[in-house]
Symmetry: D3
Subunit: 256 residues, 6 copies
């Protein structure tokens, strides 16, 4: 069920019987010359809505702007400071508990949000307010992602390209896929990312000229569909597992 | 132009020639038994997207959750604390200036956000970071709003009902309009809102049983269309006026 | 009873039997060429002290500096940032509850403080710490205010002028009343305050040359007395009503 | 000149020629059975106003509530948290600089405020915003204070008693002076304040039953007048010295 | 050079010619039944001091308590909240720049600090205050670490054991190594750390009974020495590389 | 017992039977031409470790950087902002309570930390989280300190010199003691520290050229040992006293 579409009296049943919410969030940031800035939050929203529809779990509206300061050099990237993002997500989650929600899945499609969602989740759990966990679609199907693409760059690469080809093909500039590859960094291994054990870069612009990594040319909508179906299934399992837990089992363990 | 749909190289021209952005924001909160929780942000997004399309000004993704703690008693209302909302909007706006944006219109459809957007706007202007102003669609066409409806409640009333009837009729429970009226507070004048000069209530639940005010039964999609067209025109004018100003003329005046 | 004058043992009875406090607050800010900078807090203090004397309710010392950044262009205006003001009032109120106070009236005479006092009041109520409400004297007697003056500007206008004429006539420059009118903005309707539905100004200096609105020339001490008596009566009623409530009836309602 | 009494155009000359402000601040807190809760801020205000009158320097309205949490056990003590106090004073001072003030004397009569005013002063100086220093009247005339009284307790003792006897004798309960002494702690030396080098107490209530220290019975209005005159003279000197400095000489020294 | 040992005049030369500092930091937290709570900060300190001695770069005192809330269930674990840790490191780093330092290596030996040090580093770089990077010894020699041990658990495992055996063997309970292995989680692969793509655990206690992972029984002081030498060499290279950069080359790139 | 050296299972007994921790903290800041920057935290650590050894009470690792911004003009001084220091200490203390600690002694050797430790202690006590008190070694033996030295400057003077001579003589530049005296301020009485009752200086550099006060030439390791033994004894007494109290007796008293 998508919360945004529903009138309040029609939510009463849900909150009486369920305590889980799916919160989609991503980013609005450059995704290379071929993909739209909304890429991450479109993907997150697609997963969360699909799973909500299949399972009946509640899905909230999408948080569209996240922690993307490391993409700032490219036109149009939007972001909030990390501390602001954390407070926004924490406040929003905490307030959902007013209706009886006590566990959430942050359906996330932006790597830059991950440590911040983990920090929020740890804090809310410690305070016994809610148990929130972060889910990244590609982390749920690592083998399939590896199988489908030659050079599977972590940002704006073929996996995200295929996903948008499948979800909203009009937003993909098919004629720029080779440019995306050639103007970016094809293989992560080639990047001078680590220096003597230290990650010495901070921004996407430190490593790539066009903001993306990977070889986008073997992305197709069909592969996108495969990815979407496989990861959706994983999220369904995760949501079901989470819904089945007793709240006290989700809380921190006692001191030894 | 909708920022979310565009790849970053295609934004270069805009940022070279323009410095204005439209930021839609609303709320996700109860709107009575007849309207969806997304009502406010749907309306805001519709206006911002429409004007962006007509004028070419940049429209960002929508901030869907705002300051709605005063609706918390009704299922599904989402909110963040006022200070969190302000920091989120301020950070997001401040970071947009990195690309050359120096003026924004907060295309807002939720009264509860107004003082907070004003506070953010005043701060950013004072710091000479950006000039941001808040726009509420119904404030731009007060006479038309008054003409069209008998009892024009400020929340979940006929003006918002008509707007959703026009924008996405499937989301309106037409069969509950009379219930909405009868279970709520038809006339604001009847409400005991002020006591000896003091507003002694804080929450929607203090005044109404179902969360809404006004008489929804004379709302129609046709009236919604009228409202939408008239207010869109106002927003176009506002954006054009704003784009025409020299930035220094938008900044605070000098000390006398 | 005025708290500042009393030794601590003499407050014991009050805190045993009563739980209400009146907290006067205003601003120290420009009020045109004819009125002193203390205008707002003098008025607030006068009301709070008068009502405390008539009723016996406790009145605290006055918070003299508030949210007045929008008057900064005029010599002498003092202010704190909105967030600082909120924290100051919230902390002060919260700590009063240590003695048994659980309800306060913010006896306010400065419009710029209103949304901030409302925000503080909402937060403290939500946390079930205290129930605090904001009272503006002129909001309690709107008809009388309208009756007495031709052009009743909201800042530095005849209603505030009359009040200071009555409370402390030596502080009014009677010989500048016409100047005040002519150098300011006589009618609010003439001001270009709203543009296509948006309030595009932020500072008093954006609209007026001398910082005030209205026609001050028909202000008199007699009218000031009328206003004072009438609004005092309203505040007495408000305080009595508030004192009569059970604390639990002042708290937020339960979730539907 | 007292800022509160003046209309803004009449401040122009001052800000053109001077850059110093006196900011009185104290506390509203228990001062034993014989003195009013306003004791500290009445004293601070009296000094600041007197010096402003004698010298022409600008005096602002008084900050009446400070850091007094350590007196909370006694009825009527008001306080804000230390961090809130610091932000309030810092924001207020910072904003005064908008008019050209760049140096302030915090005319303080409450020991509990001292470290916080020092912290604010250090911060503003380091940021080269303003140079603010804290002044306590009794610190300026330590010998006279010692000479006049047998047991000169630091809180609610004879020096403060004499001062209020002089400034507003109606507020002193003369008939309770012996009680104040007998119910409190006559000699600080008797108090078990330090334990093996550590101050193990935090609150006034940890040491005294009625909240005060010293022997109040030898306080008189005449002694109060002596104290007032002598300390006023010191503050005049301090203000003159401060006004004479070049601003750059008040700023932090360069790195060695 | 170790800053703590030096008198201030003897630092002048360094600050005139160099601008790099090594800041060791770790944690004080449980490291299983066999290792001391200081393990992480002892290791960090050893590397930073050794490199400072070999190269002459400045080494500061050690920050001994970090982000370790996820080990709280085990006796003695100390920690500060993530936001507090970030502010402490940021403030400390920012203030070092007062002496001319503009680049630092956070010589870190605790994984839980990593995202927070990255966040601080990104912020300070963005503000063009300093360029700070995080270095973890084991990240600099991944192949050697893999070669030396069978089951190289990430916390309290053989690599940390070997390091303390080498650095301060008296602190290792050699007789508990097998217990450490058997009571913990030998292989990370066995842990149910990821569930359908989501990391569903937060605390060490969620996964292990004694707080550690890996097989500690093949750790030796000799291996510790090998690790120490190899990683020290890496840190020397990193420091040299960093010292050689022009500051402007370390700052964020320009907008495309 | 020193927490850093112990494996977690070996702390169980302590936390079952005791609830006190000693937390050493000082500064890393200039101490004149003759003493190392670590002076304060070395001293603090020495006392805390010695007492822990003698008594068995738990000693934590040392907080090496404190509030030292007032020494910033001298090379190498490190510091964090006061608010950051307070939060760090408060968070660290609060989290210790998770293991059963409810009382701590901040074994402090830096005057600049004192008001901040008092503020933290007051807050934690008020919240009934923990009872923390600050201890300065020289405050515990004022007579002995006075007896041993002619000119006992408060910073970098003979008492600190003697202490480091005793604790780690290699760190003292014996050949610079006369220089330290001559280049600094021998007698505090000579300093123009107070002006008409106001402390008009903020930084050490405002008063001294080399950062120190006092006559260092009569410091000896033997005197250092005397001081160390005497103050250690005091700290033992304090810790024993503190350990003997019932927690409720350490909490704030009730409202009168």
């Amino acid at each position: 069920m998508y919360l945004g579409d529903v009138a309040w009296p029609d939510l009463e049943d849900y909150f009486e019987t369920e305590s889980l919410a799916l919160i989609p969030l991503g980013s609005t940031e450059q995704h290379g010359p071929h993909l739209p800035e909304a890429t991450d939050h479109l993907i997150a929203e697609a997963f969360a809505r699909e799973v909500a529809e299949r399972t009946g779990y509640l899905c909230t509206p999408t948080i569209t702007v996240g922690v993307s300061g490391h993409h700032r050099q490219f036109h149009g990237t939007m972001w909030v400071e990390p501390s602001v993002f954390r407070e926004y997500v924490a406040s929003l989650t905490r307030n959902l508990t007013y209706h009886g929600i006590d566990r959430v899945v942050y359906v996330n499609a932006h790597g830059g949000n991950v440590p911040h969602l983990r920090e929020v989740g740890a804090r809310l759990r410690q305070e016994e307010v809610a148990y929130g966990i972060e889910w990244m679609w590609d982390e749920s199907i690592p083998d399939l992602v590896d199988d489908l693409f030659e050079q599977n760059g972590p940002h704006g690469g073929p996996k995200e390209t295929a996903m948008i080809q499948y979800l909203d093909s009009a937003l993909v500039h098919e004629d720029r896929l080779a440019d995306a590859r050639d103007g970016g960094m094809t293989s992560v291994d080639d990047a001078e990312m680590m220096r003597h054990g230290s990650r010495t870069f901070y921004d996407a612009a430190d490593n790539t000229d066009n903001g993306v990594l990977g070889d986008q040319t073997d992305a197709t909508a069909e592969k996108g569909e495969q990815l979407f179906d496989a990861a959706t299934e994983q999220l369904v399992h995760l949501a079901d597992w989470l819904a089945d837990q007793a709240f006290e089992d989700l809380l921190p363990r006692d001191h030894v």
